[in-house]
């Protein structure tokens, strides 16, 4: 059963169900649990990146070799990826990214707001399908559908994880 306090574990289980091999990431608090679960799991390897577009290119190379990856990043990283996303649309590479949102709901840091506002538009302008999840049930079902569609029909899909899921970052 999916509850508010175990959605991160459920998300990891869905990723495992789809036999994802690699989780390239630039960290975010919202992905911390997923990253630590993958560090303890022999079948999924986390790959730390120096910038998010590396994960886009990595995903393409990985698929060329017949393996699957899911890119984890926060919304600010989407801006770093824009031109690299052209690799995916030119080659129809399957691609899934899970993006934790900043600057969108209950944000304290104004510097996060411009990219938070632009995230969905940037992705869609580059041909990436966007699903926005604001509750734990949607996170699981959207990710399940995204992984199925992307790797069976060569689509590029982003699942946005709202700040509503993560709660307000208190300082």
């Amino acid at each position: 059963m999916i509850t508010d306090n175990n959605w991160e574990k459920n998300l990891f289980d869905i990723i495992k169900k789809h036999k994802i091999n690699f989780l390239p990431y630039v960290p975010d608090a919202g992905h911390a649990k997923l990253i630590s679960l993958s560090e303890e799991d022999q079948s999924i390897k986390p790959i730390v990146l120096s910038t998010e577009e590396e994960g886009v290119a990595f995903s393409g190379g990985c698929w060329l070799g017949g393996k699957k990856s899911v890119l984890l990043m926060q919304s600010s990283g989407v801006g770093n990826c824009i031109n690299m996303l052209s690799l995916l649309s030119n080659c129809n590479f399957p691609f899934v990214t899970l993006i934790t949102m900043r600057g969108e709901f209950g944000e304290f840091n104004s510097w996060q707001v411009p990219m938070g506002k632009a995230t969905q538009g940037c992705l869609e302008n580059m041909g990436v399908v966007v699903h926005k999840a604001t509750n734990p049930i949607d996170v699981i079902s959207f990710t399940d559908a995204a992984l199925y569609s992307a790797f069976s029909s060569d689509q590029q899909i982003a699942v946005l994880l709202s700040q509503r899921l993560l709660g307000r970052k208190e300082w």
Binding site: A57, G65, K67
Partner: protein
């Protein structure tokens, strides 16, 4: 000054590497390295980038990690690698022994009218790779250096990095197909993967 005392010619360098590839897969960075590799002989095991600047090394890392027993050679230019310079650090964390990154360093952005790149001002990608914990990093400036590098190809004891200083010349363009889907499908088919 870059260009002075540099005798290696890019087409000849690339031809020698490609002729010694054996079973290695080759990923190319956009611009001249793509033309150089195509000119040395087209092959379904070549994946040419025509864009996605800065991404060649990471495409290579993804492929190398997906198939740890498959040697992968990335051939790119100094400008392309500089745009993805952080990927050298990322590769240095994963340390795949089947990956080599080869930079054809002419010190210029050839595709856009020969503007000087950082390497013309003394920035040394070989030292960056070395500091990023590549197992072997070579600075190649002569035929002897090149022969030494070729002994390490295809890569089985990597990750290997080589910065090859080449003359800043622009050989005639030699253009592979542009269609990314076709490039992807033929590459995957060659690995017996489903051409989706």
């Amino acid at each position: 000054m870059v260009g002075k005392d540099i005798n290696l010619k890019r087409r000849s360098v690339v031809k020698q590497i490609v002729d010694n590839r054996k079973e290695a897969k080759i990923i190319t960075g956009l611009g001249s390295p793509t033309y150089d590799v195509f000119d040395a002989g087209d092959n379904d095991s070549n994946f040419y980038l025509w864009g996605a600047m800065g991404g060649a090394a990471m495409v290579g890392l993804g492929l190398a990690m997906a198939n740890p027993n498959l040697p992968v050679i990335v051939i790119t230019g100094d400008g392309e690698q500089l745009m993805g310079v952080g990927s050298l650090a990322t590769i240095g964390v994963q340390k795949p022994n089947n990956l080599s990154i080869i930079v054809l360093d002419n010190g210029y952005y050839g595709e856009t009218g020969m503007q000087k790149s950082h390497t013309s001002f003394g920035v040394d990608l070989h030292k960056i790779a070395k500091a990023s914990n590549f197992k072997h990093s070579f600075s190649v400036k002569s035929d002897n250096d090149l022969n030494n590098l070729i002994d390490y190809l295809p890569p089985i004891d990597g990750p290997i990095f080589a910065n090859i200083k080449v003359e800043p010349q622009l050989p005639p363009r030699s253009l592979p197909i542009l269609d990314g889907v076709e490039l992807k499908n033929r590459f995957r088919k060659n690995l017996n993967l489903k051409a989706l």
